[in-house]
């Protein structure tokens, strides 16, 4: 919007505020005056049959009722997103205050505004929350759950989730009951079961809040997965405890049988949720096997199967969150092997988008509900609740870690424990569960107030201070490492090594079972769930191709010349010796390799085996890599022919000049030609065939890229020239013609 760009800094923010106020200003009166318009609409329809008052044909009429609900929903979402946008425009604010806090504040403001106008502000409807707002966030978390750290720490996570939550519930419930017994507080009517119910609601760590805050602090993987995993898995416990105590509170008494049934119920709820999720996950994987002709609807299968898993388990009062997570985790490896690259991107972006919108809406509604909700404030109760929350969490974490560390190889340090304890945030799930409490509970309003206070405290105080605390305590941050192929190789190597050593030791340990699972997966499961021949592809190769593809796309998108990249190591640095001494035998070999590589290429194109990674799936894939490869081949061929005709001494020693002349000679100065020069960068070359080609043609490209290096050494270049010439002559027989031949069917795809 160029018309609105201003010179001075505060202008942008003011503009945004004005826009928002206008929106809110328009939205609210429309809502408020909806009834008036409604009657006008119906009146108009009656009059057409009655002829005593003839109205003129309404050219312009307003019928708000017709669009009321979608309009309001869209307006709320738009408002939420504009707020989110606004925060990021204000630079310093988003660095200090986590987004969740800001959104709650906005919710409070909006709620206040609505109240001032005189309307009833909407409350976060529990059904809306549990059925619409929560699933996208959980699916996003589950689908992209980092599996390796999760499975390595699953024991610890389960202990924290189950035992930690139980401890919190009983500790808080018990102590609050004791508090209520004290005469002076004036809460004598609260019985033990009600307190325990309250404890169960407020003790569960909330995944939404944890995600919102932890995402911004980039803490190390271990702590992140511990807190996050706990927040996901404690859903089963919360569901069971909540239902249990609600039932008991109705009846009023508890027997031993009830307790036993409660325990059984816990296992049923959690394992049932897992089972439902797994079933839907396998269904989704199986379905994705057949989608190669209808790529467009692939993402929908992923979303719908997951949502069905959630709804199905909610139907049976099983743990919906666990079902959703398991579904995402189970279907991901198979689905990703089957779907196209575009579908993968779509799934990723839609999940991120929906979860982002959900999160924003949840926090705003939390703020609005605070203003709206019926409150019953009791200083003692509320303050005690907050303090007890903190205390029980800290005690629980310390106690459990003490026990867990006996079984862990990598022990949890004090710093880790602190962050785990401090990161136990409560959020909207607690509020919704509280809201679901039937009005029978006389203490409902009190509980709601206390819950909201706890949520505010954890999100505001803990959320805001966790980042400076992390800095202060110098807790290990997340390692931002690029995917390195060496690491990948060694990860696999290490896995096999450790499995082998375990075999030598005769110990059926962690790696042994993982290996068995992998083998079972490969021989039986993958056969059924993965389309085509993909299931045989080992992880290392998949990783490598992914890297290639990513780099190809990145390069074409950036369109930059590789002189921007620092290193100039090329293949020749690693094995130059093969090149100068090109014997007859090697010549033959080179020719054979080139020919077979190009043939392989053609075969691969035809078999369409790698549906996601294939570079030649022309009908729906990005033609990026294919185009690039094509141009690379043409480029290579052109260059070879060029240099064959040019005598060795013609080039001048200065690389800058050479570069210019080269490009003008061949008239290829586009982003796509860059790949050829790109080969000597540290990233892996584009395809196996390109490697072999490039290996034999090393020196020319590297000389071009090396602009910055002061290369006064003319003799080097000359030597390079001669070598190149020698090689080019070797290749000259099959070289260009062969390429030309191969290129034609190439291009016809």
């Amino acid at each position: 919007m160029p018309a609105f760009s201003c010179a001075f800094p505060g202008c942008r923010r003011d503009l945004l505020v004005i826009v928002l106020v206008v929106f809110v200003g328009i939205g609210l009166p429309i809502e408020a005056s909806a009834p008036a318009y409604q009657s006008h609409g119906t009146e108009g329809s009656y009059l057409t049959n009655v002829t005593n008052t003839k109205k003129a044909f309404p050219v312009l009429a307003v019928n708000y009722k017709h669009v009321r609900q979608p309009f309001e929903i869209a307006l709320w979402i738009l408002l939420a997103l504009l707020m989110k946008l606004g925060f990021h425009l204000i630079p310093r604010l988003s660095g200090v205050v986590p987004e969740s806090c800001l959104l709650i504040v906005v919710g409070l403001l909006v709620g206040g505004l609505i109240k001032v106008i005189g309307e009833e502000p909407p409350v976060l409807d529990s059904q809306l929350f549990f059925l619409c707002l929560l699933p996208p966030i959980i699916l996003d978390a589950g689908y992209f759950l980092p599996i390796r750290p999760f499975t390595e720490n699953v024991g610890t996570i389960l202990v924290f989730a189950v035992i930690g939550t139980l401890w919190n519930t009983f500790f808080m419930g018990g102590l609050l009951y004791a508090l209520c017994q004290i005469e002076s507080v004036g809460l004598g009517g609260v019985d033990l079961l009600a307190c325990l119910l309250f404890g169960s609601i407020v003790s569960a760590v909330d995944p939404v809040a944890v995600l919102a805050v932890f995402e911004e602090i980039h803490i190390n993987e271990l702590v992140h997965i511990l807190v996050f995993g706990e927040s996901l898995l404690n859903d089963a416990v919360t569901v069971v405890l909540y239902n249990l105590f609600e039932e008991f509170a109705k009846v009023g008494t508890v027997t031993v049988l009830d307790v036993f049934l409660g325990v059984v119920c816990f296992f049923v709820v959690s394992l049932g949720g897992v089972l439902v999720g797994a079933i839907y996950g396998f269904l989704a994987a199986f379905t994705s096997r057949f989608t190669s002709h209808t790529r467009v609807i692939e993402p929908l299968f992923v979303f719908l199967y997951s949502y069905m898993a959630y709804l199905s388990s909610e139907m049976f009062h099983l743990s919906g969150i666990m079902a959703l997570i398991v579904c995402g985790v189970v279907m991901r490896p198979y689905v990703e092997a089957n779907i196209s690259h575009k579908s993968y991107t779509t799934i990723k972006y839609f999940l991120k988008m929906w979860s982002s919108v959900s999160e924003t809406l949840i926090f705003i509604f939390l703020g609005v509900s605070t203003v709206a909700g019926p409150h019953a404030w009791n200083w003692t109760f509320v303050i005690t609740t907050v303090i007890l929350c903190l205390v029980s969490r800290v005690l629980g974490v310390i106690g459990l870690t003490f026990i867990i560390n006996k079984f862990r190889i990598v022990k949890l340090t004090k710093k880790d424990q602190f962050i785990v304890a401090y990161g136990g945030l409560r959020g909207a799930i607690a509020f919704s569960l509280g809201y679901l409490l039937s009005n029978r509970h006389q203490m409902r309003n009190l509980f709601l107030t206390a819950i909201i206070t706890v949520i505010f405290f954890t999100v505001f105080v803990q959320g805001m201070t966790i980042r400076p605390l992390v800095e202060l305590l110098a807790v290990k941050k997340k390692k931002e490492s690029k995917p390195s192929i060496n690491e990948e190789i060694h990860t696999e190597f290490l896995n096999h090594l450790l499995t082998g050593v375990e075999g030598v030791c005769g110990h059926y340990g962690h790696y042994h079972w993982k290996e068995k699972l992998n083998r079972f997966n490969k021989t039986y499961v993958k056969r059924w769930l993965i389309a085509g021949e993909n299931f045989k592809e080992p992880e290392l190769i998949a990783f490598y191709r992914k890297m290639e593809l990513k780099q190809a796309i990145m390069m074409v998108e950036s369109g930059q010349l590789p002189s921007a990249l620092p290193s100039t190591i090329s293949m020749q640095n690693i094995q130059p010796r093969a090149i100068p001494r090109v014997s007859k035998k090697r010549e033959e070999e080179i020719r054979r390799i080139l020919r077979s590589n190009l043939q392989n290429n053609k075969q691969k194109m035809r078999s369409r085996s790698y549906s996601r990674h294939t570079l030649f799936d022309a009908d729906e894939e990005d033609n990026v890599s294919e185009v690039r490869l094509r141009k690379t081949k043409m480029e290579m061929e052109r260059r070879m022919s060029h240099y064959l005709t040019v005598p060795a001494n013609r080039e001048s020693p200065r690389p800058g000049v050479r570069r210019v002349r080269f490009e003008s000679d061949n008239q290829v100065f586009s982003a796509d030609s860059v790949p050829t020069v790109h080969f000597e960068q540290p990233s892996p070359p584009s395809t196996p065939d390109a490697v072999s080609l490039e290996e034999e043609v090393p020196k020319r490209p590297s000389l071009e890229a090396d602009i910055e290096g002061p290369r006064g050494n003319a003799s080097d270049n000359h030597q390079g020239e001669l070598d190149y010439q020698r090689l080019a002559r070797c290749l000259s027989d099959p070289g260009p013609n062969k390429d030309k031949e191969e290129d034609d069917p190439f291009m016809s795809c």
Partner: protein, 220 residues
């Protein structure tokens, strides 16, 4: 084991425990396993290790077995391989898979890293010249992908080349076109696996558990 023999071995075990840092119990377990593998003889040969069924499906089986007989891993400053190893050498190789104890100083942690990475390095550097050259690295990747069938062959080469390029550029930065990068030295190896938390990953739980949970009866 007769009484006199057990007294003698007790003393040896204590000695080994002091030197390697294992507990007496762990050494006892490892000894039991050793006896099992070697059919109650004093030394272990390659055939004994090769006959372990659990290793059958392992793609790097040969390298693992070689590692046990590699002199460089036996804390001697020699190179080459031996044909048979005794219990002490077996234990020496196992020390590389000890987990990192808590409360290590920075220096101790660094030493542990070096020790474990040295073991890995030795496994790759088959000609014992101190560097991993391109051929050796290619072989490593080929072995890793050997169970993958024919898809692996050329891609293995490409992957190894790419990995080598990565190492060269990370460790040497810019190089003149006619310079030759001989291979990955141990220092380079340390550098590229810098972010790899090997001291926590390279361990076998066996060495941490007591006899109650041990299943040494089953394996052979």
């Amino acid at each position: 084991m007769g009484a006199s023999q057990s007294a003698g071995t007790e003393h040896e075990f204590q000695d080994m425990a002091d030197r390697t840092g294992f507990s007496l119990e762990q050494i006892g377990n490892i000894n039991k396993r050793f006896r099992q593998l070697s059919n109650n003889e004093e030394t272990l040969s390659r055939e004994d290790l090769a006959s372990i069924p659990a290793l059958d499906n392992n793609p790097i089986r040969a390298q693992i077995i070689n590692a046990f007989f590699d002199k460089r891993n036996l804390h001697q400053n020699e190179t080459g391989t031996v044909q048979e190893i005794g219990f002490e050498e077996f234990l020496m190789v196992m020390t590389h898979f000890r987990p990192a104890a808590m409360g290590l100083t920075e220096e101790e942690r660094e030493n542990l890293r070096r020790e474990k990475l040295r073991f890995l390095f030795n496994m790759h550097d088959t000609d014992s010249d101190g560097t991993i050259n391109l051929e050796e690295y290619r072989r490593v990747v080929e072995e890793l992908l050997s169970k993958a069938g024919t898809i692996g062959q050329e891609t293995a080469k490409a992957i190894a080349d790419a990995a080598m390029l990565e190492v060269a550029s990370t460790t040497r930065g810019k190089m003149e076109p006619d310079e030759f990068y001989e291979g990955i030295t141990f220092e380079n190896f340390l550098q590229i696996l810098n972010t790899f938390d090997i001291e926590t990953r390279m361990h076998v739980r066996f060495l941490n558990m007591d006899t109650a949970t041990l299943r040494c009866g089953k394996s052979k």
